[in-house]
């Protein structure tokens, strides 16, 4: 009974969610996200649907296991309940053959689930290590961004016309130069992520410390996590250790003109829930307008060596 109720709830839930979203008044100018497969928002990265497929695969395997095991349990509870005329239980200490069988069957299924995570275009290693980069040199035609997360804002640093990222120093930070770039005029810094579709996108993730130039006080950067549910991608920003992610947006996404979000998925302090930034997929024309230059002519070959605050201190001495 319980199993059936839960399964019914599971199946009814997407419809229910859709109904609710249609009824709920949406914020002005904000398009309501249509819940996609299994309540998930649209997958816009090339590997997003593959990730969903793996979710669905595990959903069915565990769903069947759930129904069988809980169903058997309920059946046993009903069938072998204590009642008139049933005073004895069957005396047995187990059955080795049966136990070996179900143990091996479980192993096979689990190893299968594990191995399928690793293969194909949506495999774990493809997503996490398949950067469009070779020997530290970015492949031509890759859209490159440096992302900085600080308490509690995202900054997106685009290379600028010269196709070269500026060095970053905490001591350069000011209200007009939130990241602390060497020459902020040479780069483009936006509070939102704008990307083209159908090209490889390589992003370097940096956690940014708090530096007050007036009092010259510095606070350690903290962990954040770059999360876009639409990309099906998550990666922590580790203080002092820049990380990388890559993705590619599906062709045709820009046309839809939807607004997505980059949110923070790792607790970073009191403003954690408000740490999000708009994320837009733009056509080449719109992107050029937004950036003020044609990104294709300005692809940097390398990310600059990161300079940490304690290194800055040593240099200053």
């Amino acid at each position: 009974m319980l199993a059936m109720a839960l399964v019914a709830m599971l199946l009814a839930a997407p419809a229910w969610a859709q109904e609710k979203s249609a009824d709920a008044p949406t914020a002005a100018g904000q398009e309501a996200e249509q819940p996609g497969l299994f309540w998930m928002p649209d997958a816009i990265s090339t590997y997003g649907e593959g990730v969903d497929d793996l979710f669905v695969l595990i959903f069915w395997i565990t769903g069947i296991a759930f129904v069988v095991v809980e169903g058997l349990m309920l059946w046993f509870l009903f069938r072998y309940r204590n009642r008139e005329g049933r005073e004895k239980a069957h005396y047995t200490h187990g059955n080795n053959k049966l136990e070996v069988t179900w143990t091996l069957a479980t192993v096979v299924i689990l190893v299968f689930i594990g191995v399928v995570q690793l293969v194909g275009d949506s495999g774990w290693l493809t997503i996490k290590t398949g950067y469009p980069e070779k020997d530290g040199v970015v492949q031509p035609g890759t859209f490159v961004v440096r992302v900085y997360g600080e308490q509690f804002a995202w900054h997106f640093n685009y290379p600028g016309k010269d196709g070269k990222f500026e060095d970053q120093r905490h001591s350069f930070k000011s209200p007009t130069n939130p990241i602390g770039l060497d020459d902020p005029a040479k780069d483009k810094v936006l509070p939102k992520l704008v990307v083209p579709e159908n090209v490889n996108i390589l992003i370097e993730l940096n956690a940014l410390g708090k530096y007050d130039a007036n009092t010259e006080t510095y606070t350690h950067p903290v962990l954040h996590s770059f999360f876009s549910p639409n990309l099906r991608l998550k990666q922590d920003l580790v203080p002092y250790h820049p990380g990388k992610i890559w993705f590619k947006i599906k062709q045709g996404t820009a046309k839809e003109g939807k607004k997505y979000e980059i949110v923070c998925a790792e607790l970073c302090g009191e403003g954690h829930s408000n740490m999000h930034a708009p994320f837009l997929v733009l056509s080449e024309e719109d992107l050029a307008k937004e950036l003020g230059y044609d990104w294709k002519t300005a692809v940097p070959a390398k990310f600059p060596e990161p300079v940490h605050y304690h290194q800055e201190q040593k240099e200053a001495e």
């Binding site: 072998y80 004895k88 005396y91 999000h276």
Partner: protein, 594 residues
């Protein structure tokens, strides 16, 4: 091999002290049963503190900008919200679940089940309890120093989550230091308890009580104690390093140090800690299911081996908490495969519980219902674990409500139902009266339904990517992506209120039964283990004048050797030629007849 246990010098010596007065008997007692009940009462009290925190944050999530009875929900945003969930988790894990399962049941049950007069080190046992309140005072020291409101402003309470990752925990207010010190004290208490349990189980089993005749509850706590001994020192060192980073200028986790190092150290303890919180529940559920199915446990050896397997594998899978942390992805691959393997012993246990029910004679008492609740909810918690163990799927659901759902299915649906099962099962031995069946069943139904209504929808919002540890998903400054899911939040909150009220009901039922409940006989459940041969409640020193001699395993129900459908462990059978004398194996194992 167990003959030396006849000379229980330590406890026999101790068992003579009968007149100890009020303070000696109820407060600074060295009697394992009194200490167990002290742990239980403390954990019960803390359960309501942790529950209150949970309800507050659920109210905030459902209606972040509303006002209820003069309480403005806006004040629970930001840092206050972080304090709420950090304290909720810390209280529930370190002051409720572990004291309940390890402190209360470990203390109360081990000597009774193995036929000993007390723990090996009664004073250490009392000490392990009495430093727990101290840890509580340190944790909430900010209230004493500044009061709640001022304390929240000045950072007197930890707000870094129960994980307290640096660098956030390095730059946080002084409450973080209190939190570290408090957990070091709790860890010390755990280690004291664990040393006691291991020594008692290894050295003080009654004659005839071989390892193969120990109940699964004792096995589970034995394995848990070993986990505690290996894991806790690692957490303690991580906490000390964190304190050094905060106050003494070291850089283990900052500057030239490595923030991920803390995560590795933390999860090296805290993943096994998850098993510390579930294994005793498994043991208790196994015992209870066997008693009320009136059937031997299906695959006793496999059950014990599975628990040992879970414990062993538990130490090599910690990295699955760190798939998206920046850890090397190839290492993630290893941790995924290792984690998949840990689902195996869990599955074996679930199948064996099913096997125990199969062709049984099932009595639906309150403890049985709670034990079945444990099994069915643990199955869901176990299956949902496979999602996040899969690295690629984890990309989406890591740090979302899917994880919150999973941990609550394991720790509430699992451990806490195990606790309810244990309390109602041993209640006659604890209080000398029966737990009211009617009230117990009402509590079970309310809790079971309420629990599923609170936590099942979390899978759905989690699959949509709803991040955890957010103070609000609608309203000013909030992300817009999950606005349409707000009705789920409200539904979960309303259900959480029902769930909370059901626990108040449990408290009332417990007090009612302890005072007005039906007087308990020696063996109300007709169970086999040794505690049921004693008065309810058992006298100080348990077994008088002689220690019992054990002839059988603990699960001889419906054995053909006797008329009754149970066979107490200490009952000597006269008939020759059958198992039941001092032979190691009296229980036929292997082929069952289908």
């Amino acid at each position: 091999m167990t003959t030396e246990t006849k000379e229980n010098v330590v406890t026999e010596d101790h068992a003579e002290h009968h007149e100890m007065g009020f303070w000696g008997k109820y407060v600074f007692s060295r009697d394992h049963k009194a200490i167990g009940m002290q742990f239980m009462m403390t954990a019960l009290f803390m359960l309501f503190i942790g529950g209150g925190l949970a309800l507050t944050l659920r109210m905030r999530l459902a209606w972040p900008e509303a006002e209820f009875m003069g309480v403005d929900m806006k004040q629970f945003g930001g840092e206050t919200y972080n304090v709420l969930f950090s304290m909720h988790a810390t209280v529930m894990i370190f002051f409720v679940i572990i004291p309940f399962l390890v402190g209360a049941f470990g203390n109360f049950v081990i000597p009774l089940h193995i036929g000993a007069r007390d723990m090996a080190f009664p004073f250490l046992n009392g000490l392990s309890y009495w430093i727990m309140p101290l840890a509580g005072f340190v944790m909430f020291g900010g209230i004493l120093l500044e009061g709640v409101e001022a304390g929240l402003k000045s950072g007197a309470f930890a707000s870094g989550g129960w994980t307290s990752y640096p660098s956030l925990s390095v730059i946080a207010g002084y409450g973080q230091t209190l939190w570290c010190i408090s957990l070091i004290i709790v860890g010390t208490s755990s280690i004291m308890g664990a040393v006691n349990y291991v020594t008692t189980i290894v050295k003080m089993r009654a004659p005839g009580m071989t390892f193969g005749r120990m109940s699964l509850t004792v096995w589970s706590i034995f394995i848990t104690a070993i986990l505690i001994l290996f894991g806790t020192p690692v957490l303690t060192s991580a906490l000390i390093m964190l304190i050094l980073d905060r106050h003494f200028g070291t850089t283990f986790f900052t500057n030239d140090g490595q923030p991920l190092l803390y995560q590795h150290l933390f999860w090296f303890y805290s993943h096994p800690a998850v098993y510390i919180m579930i294994l005793p529940g498994m043991g208790i559920a196994s015992d209870i299911i066997s008693v009320f199915a009136r059937k031997p446990i299906f695959g006793y050896k496999a059950m014990a081996a599975a628990m040992a397997g879970i414990a062993g594998l538990g130490f090599i899978v910690w990295g699955h908490h760190m798939f998206q942390s920046g850890m090397n992805p190839y290492l993630g691959t290893y941790f995924m495969i290792a984690t998949m393997m840990i689902a195996l012993p869990s599955a074996v246990k679930s199948f064996n519980w099913l096997g125990t029910l199969w062709r049984g004679n099932i009595h639906f008492t309150t403890p049985m219902l709670n034990a079945l609740g444990f099994v069915s909810m643990f199955i869901i918690g176990g299956l949902s674990g496979i999602f996040m163990a899969a690295t690629t799927v984890d990309l989406m659901i890591h740090d979302t409500y899917f994880i919150v759902a999973h941990i609550h299915y394991v720790l509430f649906g699992g451990s806490l139902f195990g606790v309810f099962a244990g309390i109602t099962y041993w209640f006659p031995k604890m209080f000398g009266r029966m737990f009211s069946e009617t009230l117990g069943k009402i509590h079970f139904v309310l809790t079971f339904v309420g629990f599923n209504c609170v936590f099942f929808p979390m899978h759905i919002v989690g699959a949509a990517g709803l991040p955890r540890r957010y103070a609000a998903y609608i309203g000013e400054g909030a992300s817009k992506t999950w606005e349409h899911m707000q009705p789920y939040q409200q539904f979960m909150t309303v259900s959480a209120i029902v769930l909370g009220l059901a626990q108040v009901f449990f408290l009332i039922a417990l007090i009612y039964s302890a005072i007005w409940g039906k007087k308990a006989e020696k063996n109300p459940w007709k169970a086999n283990t040794l505690e049921w041969t004693l008065d309810s409640p058992p006298p100080h020193g348990n077994f008088h004048p002689d220690l019992p001699t054990v002839y059988h395993g603990p699960y001889e129900y419906n054995s053909a050797l006797v008329e009754e459908d149970y066979l107490p462990q200490d009952r000597k059978l006269e008939a020759a030629g059958v198992g039941g004398d001092d032979g190691q194996e009296d229980a036929p194992s292997g082929e069952g007849t289908a």
